[in-house]
């Protein structure tokens, strides 16, 4: 059930150059692909909550993985174990359940929500082929954790500093072509568009998790919309997503 909660920080560690892993104590019942709206400070500046995906979730904990890039996330990163973090969630639709093997494609910090997805696919005994791309080696974080959960693991970097030298979509392309599998992806929009196009080409169901600037996170403000289909209609990323069928949001894919 979606709620406003004040959760204690169990641990808050730096796990990459700008990336932090925040573990909170509490039972949220979040599903893979959902997110929470995090209050980054206690004053009116920054004003809005920050949407952050559920990186992992257990009976009594919620883990977030985020990049401390802008003003709000930098403020959040100053909190310590023992402090509390105010969240609203879990929010959004999450990834749909599908039987059978899965190709999962991550771009940069887009890997965050995919960890929980991988874990639940693994627990359901499904084969997972995971492709993790980033601009450069530094942006790949916690690779071992992902690798341990999957049947196949490969990395790609735009600059060749780790794994395959090139776009992760090129790795994914082969896997999607070869395997009768569902496709899941999270990362920059350009990457998602390409993954959708590839999946469409091979007639695979494909789900992408989108980002949008949000205010309410609960469907009330209509601020976070994306155009769907070709009719000029909009859907809300926060409640109609963040997970969409690739075809729906990348109409020409």
């Amino acid at each position: 059930m979606t709620k406003k909660m004040s959760l204690e920080i169990i641990s808050h560690q730096q796990v990459g150059s700008q990336v932090r892993r925040l573990v909170l104590r509490g039972k949220t019942g979040a599903r893979p692909g959902q997110f929470v709206q995090v209050a980054v400070g206690e004053t009116h500046d920054p004003y809005l909550r920050r949407p952050i995906s559920v990186h992992d979730c257990s009976e009594d904990s919620l883990t977030l993985l985020y990049r401390a890039a802008g003003r709000g996330t930098t403020l959040l990163s100053a909190k310590n174990a023992g402090d509390t973090v105010d969240i609203v969630g879990p929010l959004g639709n999450g990834f749909p359940h599908h039987k059978g093997p899965a190709v999962v494609v991550a771009g940069g910090i887009g890997a965050a929500p995919l960890y929980y997805l991988l874990r639940s696919l693994r627990e359901a005994g499904q084969d997972v082929y995971f492709f993790y791309g980033a601009r450069t080696k530094d942006e790949l974080v916690m690779q071992k954790d992902y690798e341990n959960l999957v049947s196949e693991y490969a990395e790609a970097t735009d600059d060749g500093s780790a794994g395959y030298h090139g776009f992760v979509t090129e790795l994914a392309q082969k896997a999607i072509a070869q395997r009768e599998a569902h496709v899941f992806a999270c990362g920059p929009e350009g990457m998602l568009r390409q993954v959708s196009a590839i999946a469409a080409r091979y007639n695979r169901t494909c789900y992408v998790s989108l980002e949008a600037r949000m205010a309410c996170g609960v469907g009330a403000c209509l601020g976070c919309v994306v155009p769907v289909g070709t009719s000029g209609e909009y859907k809300r990323v926060c409640v109609d997503g963040p997970v969409f069928a690739g075809r729906e949001v990348f109409a020409n894919a």
């Binding site: 709620k3 406003k4 500046d45 004003y47 809005l48 600037r213 403000c221 601020g223 919309v225 155009p227």
Partner: protein, 316 residues
Amino acid sequence: MPDLTVKIGQLTLKNPVMPASGCFGYGEEYAPFFDLARLGAIVVKGTTAEPCAGNPPVRLAETPAGMLNAIGLQNPGVKAAKEKIRALENVGAPVIVNVAGHSVEQYRAVIAVLEEVEAAAAYEINISCPNVKAGGMAFGTDPAVVSALVKELRSLTDKTLIIKLSPNVTDIAGIAKAAEEGGADALSLINTLLGMAIDTHTKRPVLANLTGGLSGPAVKPVALRMVWQVTEAVNIPVIGMGGISSAQDAVEFLLAGATAVAIGAANFVNPTVCPETVQGIHRYLEEEGYSSVQEIVGLAKKEWQKTGDECGCVKK
């Protein structure tokens, strides 16, 4: 037990707190967080005659102690909205329908449909909309236009008619008087201040619509001043809003002269801000020894004697 009830036109509200239009959907989004019956009223999203897709994204920008929005009246149109309004019939709080349009005919068309809908207890007319006939200048910026529009709408309905004022004007009191003369039962203010954000990386405006409406705590001082000025100028009740995030903020508006308050952007930050504000007003009245909320409406006006004039050295 202080008495929290207030009257807005023919409506008696159990307390003076309601969400602001466009910030609370049709109520359902906030139902998981609290019982909507705890609200004084529910104000729903701006409704137009025809369905409206709204503006393209990006529609939001965070600003210091506030936010810009350029939603652009996205709504399913009055025919579909009617069903959502009916669904609120037994929720335990009267529903105020915010009405938007770009011509007098469009406003009229919305009201025509809603007159039949019992659940629509009152209309809040958003006159900040760009007026097509006046080349896109908002309806709410010209007293003559406001007065004519309100007269027209008044002739169409016996329901409570609330006129929602735009703050982007030189003389808010003059606009308020025009709406009162036109036959409004109440006024609500402020709508958003027109603002803009620019991204220094892309070197482009952040909002696809170029400009957007500024709301949140940043605008509170302006809203409070306008509520004071308007309640000086008219004799109908005012619903005050603009940056309210707490019971203390709400009390400031009541002291300034507002009969009720609406909470907009703060719902996004704190989904339980509305019921918390009701509780907080209750506590304030108890602690300060008042037996009803009416006792503090406009109290700051009575307490206050201007000690100077507008500028220490004006000799009139």
